[in-house]
Symmetry: C2
Subunit: 174 residues, 2 copies
């Protein structure tokens, strides 16, 4: 699929509501479940998504628009969020994510980017030259991929409980 | 995680709202996207989930409660749904799924199953002896696994659009 800004914003705008419908008020055993040591729970993923809103996607887009590829993005600490959620409820985290995402999409839309803008270049500290369109596509795919992680972590909790049906379910084959 | 009815119902009850938040009103290019020939779109998955509500989970639970393992379940046609969604909008399919799921969960709760009931046995036509608890755990994991399929199919549409970032995303490595 070609990247189109409107189609990406349609997905980005739906993620807070999807997380709310899936996770808000769920028994905590689902929210803190993981795939094993050093893997993330749904709770951890929420913290990671919040951290991305604050320090990754829109801040990097601003650097591309203001400075192009003359300086690399600030590195993104993929583990910074693991301290953050302590003491917060899942509902508080979802609200925080929803507020940040709404503000970031308002900012994105306010830029009125045209197709040529999507080709503007930035410099990733490890990956080298990237475009604004690639950054925004990655933001979108990153949401979807972490939604997938959350439901996979949850599904895996029933690996034993499903009994013989595990043979039919690809999530139990990995 | 041990299977507990309340925790499973908490997940099963959230699936219609999650699908609604994720998919309702989305541009159709997302809804009809697939992973290639003979793979399902988000639209197809909705049809499959509706078919399961009508013919799989609660009907099989009824057979276990009424007849135990004295006769096998009716086979479930995993492809029957592919004809069904034609001419319906995604919003219509989500509403249909929501209505069926609500009724099925009302039925499940009305049975007031106790832990001993969860050990009651049925006979799967291919897998052999299974329990009611295993059937209900599979229903739950099946929801989560198809939610994961939908977001994976969507994420894969941006395999090219993310450019160099594909190296960081496990969804593009399969």
């Amino acid at each position: 699929m070609q990247f189109e800004l409107d189609a990406a914003v349609a997905v980005l705008g739906r993620t807070p509501g999807t997380l709310d419908a899936l996770l808000a008020g769920l028994p905590s055993e689902w929210l803190t479940a993981t795939e094993g040591p050093d893997t993330w729970s749904p709770f951890d993923v929420l913290g990671h998504l919040i951290h991305g809103e604050e320090t990754d996607w829109i801040p990097r887009a601003r650097i591309i628009l203001a400075e192009g590829d003359s300086r690399p993005f600030d590195p993104f600490d993929r583990f910074a969020h693991l301290e953050r959620p302590r003491g917060k409820s899942v509902d508080q985290l979802i609200d925080e994510f929803r507020r940040l995402r709404r503000r970031n999409l308002e900012t994105l839309v306010s830029w009125k980017l045209n197709p040529a803008d999507l080709d503007r270049r930035g410099r990733h500290p490890d990956l080298g030259t990237v475009t604004l369109g690639q950054l925004l596509a990655t933001w979108t795919a990153h949401d979807l991929s972490h939604l997938g992680q959350i439901v996979r972590v949850m599904a895996k909790q029933y690996r034993e409980a499903v009994g013989p049906w595990s043979a039919y379910m690809s999530v139990y084959r990995a």
